[in-house]
């Protein structure tokens, strides 16, 4: 539990409103992730002018198979998100989980077929909706777990940035929040040993590593242990999904950032009786859904994040 770090509802809402209406494009400018709103032409131009930049995108919570009132057509909105991401020409895409809604083979098939529309390669982590098969996540790991450790965690380097995929949706215990587990934390410690502290680090996972809202379980029990291992690095960006809305927190050199879903919105922390799908007027739906892009430039330690909605797609 990270009650010390838990934002009050007011703080969380303040944070939310500050970021509402944007979609994120991640950009690494000289090594520092920076976000700029999709459609922020000035930001994109500045990024290009800086030279030596690369960008990647984040898509999350596609929930293929969902068919309720909050969005009867999640495949359609995923298609719109894909067009948006392709237009930003990212080097690769991070999918931060809940690919499927019920872990059915046909849902994974449909999602995979749709995600083939992305022109860039995709790196995945599972969400808890991807572990609902009889094997408790076996279908996800068969499809996406090749070459990964444990229940699907791994790392890779790109353009001088170290990327770490963490998995916090397995072996959840009654009464607790999400869980990384001792094995994964040990692996993370070993993995980071070889990384210089001046290297920008991007961690991506499904459920927030920090406690966004404890009553709804929006946090990771042992997330603080992972965060402690990241504190020595000059630039750390932690990206996740799960809560279907943009919330950002900066703590020292670590930026925590949650992405919108492409499937359906969820209420702000504590703003509804439960965190389930939030029904909004159909004409407003796309203003609640979106993607994130991140721009980076080698030699610059911060990344530039940009959240963009599917509105006007």
């Amino acid at each position: 539990m990270q009650n010390d770090n838990q934002p009050t509802r007011r703080e969380a809402l303040k944070c939310m409103s500050a970021w509402a209406g944007t979609g994120l494009l991640w950009s690494l400018v000289g090594g520092i992730p920076k976000a700029f709103a999709a459609g922020d032409a000035a930001g994109e131009a500045a990024m290009k002018a800086a030279g030596g930049t690369f960008s990647f995108a984040q898509v999350s919570d596609t929930h293929i198979g969902f068919n309720k009132q909050a969005n009867p057509e999640p495949l359609k909105t995923l298609g719109e998100a894909i067009l948006r991401i392709n237009a930003a020409r990212p080097g690769f895409v991070l999918h931060t989980g809940d690919i499927s809604h019920l872990s059915k083979p046909e849902e994974f098939d449909t999602a995979a077929e749709a995600l083939k529309g992305l022109t860039a390669p995709v790196h995945y982590v599972p969400g808890e909706h991807d572990t609902l098969d009889e094997g408790g996540g076996k279908l996800f790991l068969e499809r996406y777990g090749k070459g990964t450790k444990g229940n699907g965690w791994y790392s890779f380097d790109d353009h001088g940035v170290h990327f770490v995929a963490l998995v916090n949706v397995f072996n959840l215990a009654p009464g607790r929040e999400a869980n990384l587990g001792a094995d994964q934390i040990k692996w993370l410690e070993d993995d980071l040993t070889a990384v210089s502290t001046s290297t920008p680090v991007v961690v991506f996972t499904h459920i927030p590593l920090w406690t966004v809202y404890q009553p709804w379980g929006w946090g990771t029990d042992d997330g603080a242990q992972a965060i402690a291992l990241l504190k020595k690095f000059g630039s750390v960006t932690v990206l996740n999904g799960h809560i279907h809305q943009v919330i950002q927190k900066v703590e020292g050199n670590i930026t925590f950032h949650t992405a919108r879903a492409t499937a359906y919105p969820q209420p702000a922390p504590g703003a509804a009786a439960n965190p389930g799908p939030m029904v909004v007027p159909p004409e407003k739906l796309r203003s609640y859904l979106g993607v994130t892009t991140v721009a980076a430039a080698q030699g610059v330690p911060s990344l530039k994040l940009n959240d963009s909605t599917l509105e006007g797609a």
């Binding site: 009654p174 009464g175 389930g276």
Partner: protein
């Protein structure tokens, strides 16, 4: 009015309907607003408990000691488990582990 109420009850009884339309069936746990209701339930050995999901998001029902786990329960899906031994059994939703409940099984 004095005579209408008994007549109505009699009719319900005759049709095999519960007296109150929304009264939960015996040994049924409703899942609503990410909570199990009732959160504690007492049954007897051999009784079955049925969980029904009323949320717009899927849930599971899993014994805390891993003796059983339901498949994903989408909206209005049900899961039934028969308790065959006395004891106090904690269960939870593996997707939203803060959702917990208890079944006490008496002889």
């Amino acid at each position: 009015m004095k005579y209408l109420l008994p007549a109505c009850c009699l009719l319900c009884f005759a049709l095999g309907l519960p007296a109150l339309a929304d009264a939960p069936a015996k040994n049924t746990v409703e899942i609503h607003d990410f909570k199990f209701a009732p959160g504690t339930l007492t049954v007897h050995v051999g009784d079955s408990v049925t969980w029904i999901n009323r949320d717009q998001t899927p849930h599971t029902v899993a014994d805390a000691d891993k003796t059983f786990r339901s498949a994903a329960l989408d909206t209005d899906d049900k899961f039934t488990h028969a308790y065959t031994k006395t004891g106090t059994y904690k269960y939870f939703c593996t997707m939203h582990p803060q959702m917990t409940g208890t079944v006490t099984v008496l002889p």
